[in-house]
Amino acid sequence: MRLVPLGAGQDVGRSCLLVTLGGRNIMFDCGMHMGFNDERRFPDFTYIAKDGQYTDTLDCIIISHFHLDHCGALPYFTEMCGYHGPIFMTHPTKAICPILLEDYRKITVERKGETNFFTSQHIKDCMKKVVAMNLHETHWLDDEIEIRPYYAGHVLGAAMFYVRVGSESIVYTGDYNMTPDRHLGAAWIDKVRPDVLVTESTYATTIRDSKRARERDFLAKVYDCVTQGGKVIIPVFALGRAQELCILIETFWDRMGIKVPVYFSAGLTEKANNYYKLFINWTNQKIKDTYVQRNMFDFKHIKPWDRAYADQPGPMVLFATPGMLHIGTSLEVFKKWCHDRKNMVIMPGYCVAGTVGAKVLAGQKVIDLDNFNTIHVNLQVKNLSFSAHADAKGIMQLIRQCEPRNVVLVHGEKSKMGFLKSKIMKEFSIPCFDPANGESIDIETSRAIPVQLSSSFFRKLWAREAKLDHQGTLPTGPVQDLAVDGLVVLDGPTGTPLQLTDPSDLSAMEDGASLQPHILEFETSRQFSLEALLQKWGHLAGAPLLSQTSSGSNDTTHSGMVQRALAILSSYLQQTLTVRVYVNPSTATIAADTIGVRLTGAESSASAQLMMTWQYEDEDLASDILAALNRLL
């Protein structure tokens, strides 16, 4: 299996991973980079096909969730680069990602005045190609590629994807969260044992304290600030963290009876909340259960923002977009409020290097917005890690859950990845990789060879197993460790699948005569004295048979002696051999595996005969039995 990150290799942003498995090519995510404004913002697609014939090379694209660093380059790739193969994502992702794309397009084209960018129509056309999927639904692309999404937490509709082609399989996590929050559940996956798990590693080295403590901390900070008359600005993205924090503030305001106004900027809000209402099945159980009584996304305390409010006196709380303070309302209001020590900014998410948000977080007091504008930051800066990524513990937990044979780290910082990598290799003793962008890694998967097994042979294997169990009927349970012994003839006509053949069927094959199984049987007899045997080895006859014969050990009738002799032979053989020994008193036969030893022709007690037959395939066992009999007689 070959993997090449076209983005998010030892980096965060423009997630894009190219995977070749089972001879097919699949692209996971197609994101953009927030930190760049030039061609570096998109993955380098020329890697896929120099001639631009992407559709011929790629079998499908799978998008994990609606964040732009995972889907931002999709319209560019499908409409401007000309890929028109299938695209898969979950229903909420399909619903929300065009909104964010449009938002992104507007900022880039209308505010920054860029040209040669994708248009609204491009976004619409692109979304028409998307196949929406349900969680756990198994989708078969042309009978060979199996795709199945699993719940990933993180944001509404985020999914991890399990993909299998033939015997090779992969799990791509996208971004995920292993701890449930106010509005989403925790990521979960079956024990799918993929060959490769590709996991994000944003918080590779962080172990976060409990969610509850962070929530308390957040509310306490907001509360302190507003009770002292300060204004709180919380930069967020319109969808995702925003809803979680709104629920938090809403319930806190309710409980404490606080009257301080709370606002949400962005015209998106109403719409965003509507998505959450319609896709309540993708949130968590608690919200679903209480839905009939109260829709958690109908907020009572949180009102729409108006520009004029920014200059009004008095405390207030504002959720403003976007989350990294790089543009838009959040930056505009931040510029107005940042001079006053009473005010506060709470950064609940991750900020890409270079953005104002990142500079604020780094503690810079003087920030250059551009060549002409500088702001002085005086307000209180708080950082609360509310982004819904798995922390180191969560990543380890996921690895434990799905038991991959290899782990590949993407979507993280290089130095942190190294630490996690060594931890994974140490704890799970499995190979772990952290490829850079454009660096391809080849992972040895246990290659499997598909062979055809005929039904008759399959039934025969069942029957053989059943016989070994000494049961009359064929077992109906699952196939568990049936012993297989068959032949595969290579160099058959090219193009025909390999056949695993029952050796006895080989003669029917063309040119199979030389492979026709041959049965070589042996029969050997041995005279011996019953009396001598009983005298010498009588102590062995205490074994099971005595209880079956009415006569006991003193029985001197001929049949009694025969039975005792059988008992001696069988118990001795049982002691010597590794296989189970059975006795059939009525036919005076002892059976060891497939070999039969029969006591015959003993008309007088002085001389009896042991006759043994076997086939060459049991030669080893036969030698053991013969040796044992030699010692006895």
Binding site: R193, V451, Q452, L453, L482, D491, L500, L506, L520, T524
Partner: protein, 548 residues
């Protein structure tokens, strides 16, 4: 699903139960609704008054529905045992068995099931709908196309030519509602507040808007009306393409969401819960039970039935308004001998019809098709069955048996490790690999793997012989003077039958004799001396046989 709580709580059944997640929501509603109706029978006052009911002896209508042998608690316990699935999500109750639900187009969450055993696809088709223009997601034809055996259940009647198209029947209902409201009459729709009712609501709402009656109040009366109405709107993914497109906008997929938010549609558990100040006639009331025997519907029939301005619209073909009226008349609950209100019977049955079945049977590649005996004559007349297709019937409590066509071959994955350790032989210029290992079912199919390390000593590989014994060469080797072992001498060669050769051999030094009989593919050596036997064995193998 009505029998399920009984099966899981009062029988020995302890197996896994699967249902779709959406189906579970409405299944719960349906069960709880029936139980609520049963536990709180309708109490009908007599003719004159509903307000002074206490002064008059109260009676209940005899129920046409058999009482349910379980309690509310049982329902909860049952539902906890059910595993919810989504369409096309597979589960394995046993490692070799896989079950998968596919959309059946009948209602939100209704499913046809595919059971996969040993690569065989058995499709179970029950309530399903091929109709378009209803809200549930479309019928998934994959269950029909990829089936090896197809079992159809349900009750089929040869009703002759198909009735009016569904859209027209919805239209009829809507216009009956509009006509009634225009003459200031009330409309009673006895129904469950789920399934096709969501479509009917939509058609009514559109018709009311078009006729300027958009201020008309509608009431949905059922103990589960709130959940059924609200939950359905968060199930956009379970709906048809058109409705799905709405949730991407984002807009509520079903009209009832808007009707509720504008208070045009109100829902209550009981008729008595309607607040007086918000109640306004003329109005439309949707109330259970469709049979008019349970719930609030009979009370409304009694209240409204004697005015010719009102209407009752029945969508269940089985419900007979006149018989219900007679019933009430006999108990002096009503004065007139027949209802004076308008009675419309507009059956809405989206279930599979016989002609749908013909299409399904002709589309499937299933070798075996099992249908209810009621459907057989029609199918035999109208469906062209494939040459190797077998049509079987089933009827109540009758087991169906058929030989399921086993595929000729199945693909098995040979694990790399097992392949690497396998010995390779070169025979007649061909490479032959002897594969020994364990066959086991894994998640992704059947695998042959090396036997587990533990079993290694016991599973000592057995020798295998192949090839043809060349009699001439053997005879040559046994003849005296042509061998190193001069002690061995061939006494006689006989041919008891055409295909059989028997050699008699003696070894003077060992004082032993042996007989070798050769037949097609079998050689038998009878010899009492172990030393001689071994010598002969080597000779035979050297001559022509190949040991793998």
């Amino acid at each position: 699903m009505l029998a399920l709580p009984f099966i899981t709580e009062y029988t020995e059944f302890a197996g896994q139960v699967y249902f779709t997640e959406a189906g579970l929501v409405f299944g719960r509603c349906a069960l709880e609704e029936m139980l609520a109706y049963q536990n709180e029978p309708v109490e009908l006052g007599s003719v004159a008054s509903t307000s002074t009911a206490s002064s008059i002896p109260q009676t209940t209508l005899p129920s046409t529905v058999p009482s349910l042998p379980y309690t509310h608690k049982d329902i909860h316990r049952t539902l906890e045992k059910i595993q919810g699935l989504r369409y096309r999500e597979s589960q394995s109750p046993l490692p070799s068995v896989r079950v998968t639900p596919y959309s059946s187009g009948f209602a939100l969450g209704s499913a046809n099931w595919v059971v996969e055993v040993e690569g065989q696809h058995l499709t179970l088709l029950s309530n399903a709908s091929l109709l378009t223009g209803t809200h549930p997601s479309e019928f998934d034809w994959q269950v029909v196309e990829h089936a090896d055996a197809l079992v159809v259940t349900g009750d089929f009647k040869d009703q002759g030519p198909p009735a009016l198209p569904l859209a027209q029947r919805f239209g009829q209902i809507a216009s009956a509602v509009v006509a009634t409201l225009k003459r200031k009459g009330n409309v009673l729709l006895p129904c469950h507040i789920m399934g096709p009712m969501f479509d009917i609501l939509e058609h009514i709402a559109v018709a009311l808007d078009a006729s300027g009656l958009d201020q008309t109040r509608m009431y949905a009366i059922s103990p589960v009306a709130d959940r059924a109405l609200l939950y359905s709107n968060i199930m956009g993914e379970w709906m048809c393409q058109g409705k799905q497109a709405l949730i991407y906008l984002p807009e509520a997929p079903l009209t009832q969401d808007e009707l509720i938010s504008t208070r045009r549609l109100q829902y209550h558990a009981k008729l008595a819960d309607i607040e007086l100040k918000s109640y306004q006639e003329p109005c439309v009331i949707l109330a259970g039970h469709p049979s008019l025997g349970l719930g609030a519907a009979p009370l409304l029939l009694q209240r409204w039935g004697e005015s010719d301005r009102n209407s009752v619209i029945v969508t269940d073909a089985e419900t007979d308004v006149y018989r219900c009226w007679q019933d009430m008349k006999q108990r002096d609950l009503v004065t007139q001998s027949i209802p004076r209100c308008q009675v419309h019977t507009i059956p809405i049955d989206t279930n599979l019809q016989l002609h749908d079945l013909v299409g399904i049977v002709q589309t499937t590649r299933a070798k075996t098709v099992v249908v209810p005996s009621s459907a057989e004559p029609y199918l035999r007349r109208h469906a062209r069955l494939g040459a190797n297709q077998l049509l079987l019937t089933h009827s109540y409590l009758e087991p169906v048996e058929w030989l399921h066509a086993v595929p000729q071959h199945r693909t098995v994955f040979l694990a790399e490790q097992a392949a690497q350790t396998a010995p390779v032989y070169h025979i007649n210029g061909k490479a032959v690999v002897r594969i020994q290992g364990c066959l086991r079912a894994e998640r992704d199919g059947l695998w042959i793997k090396s036997p587990p390390a533990l079993k290694q000593p016991a599973a000592k590989s057995k020798r295998m012989l192949c090839g043809q014994l060349l009699i001439d060469r053997l005879q040559h080797g046994l003849e005296k003077g042509n061998q190193q072992d001069r002690d061995l001498s061939l006494i006689s060669v006989t041919h008891p039958t055409r295909n059989e050769v028997v050699f008699n051999v003696v070894s003077t030094n060992r004082n032993a004799t042996a007989t070798i009989s050769c037949r097609n593919g079998t050689t038998k050596v009878v010899c009492d001396s172990e030393a001689l036997r071994r010598t002969l064995c080597t000779r035979i193998l050297d001559t022509s046989l190949l040991e793998l």
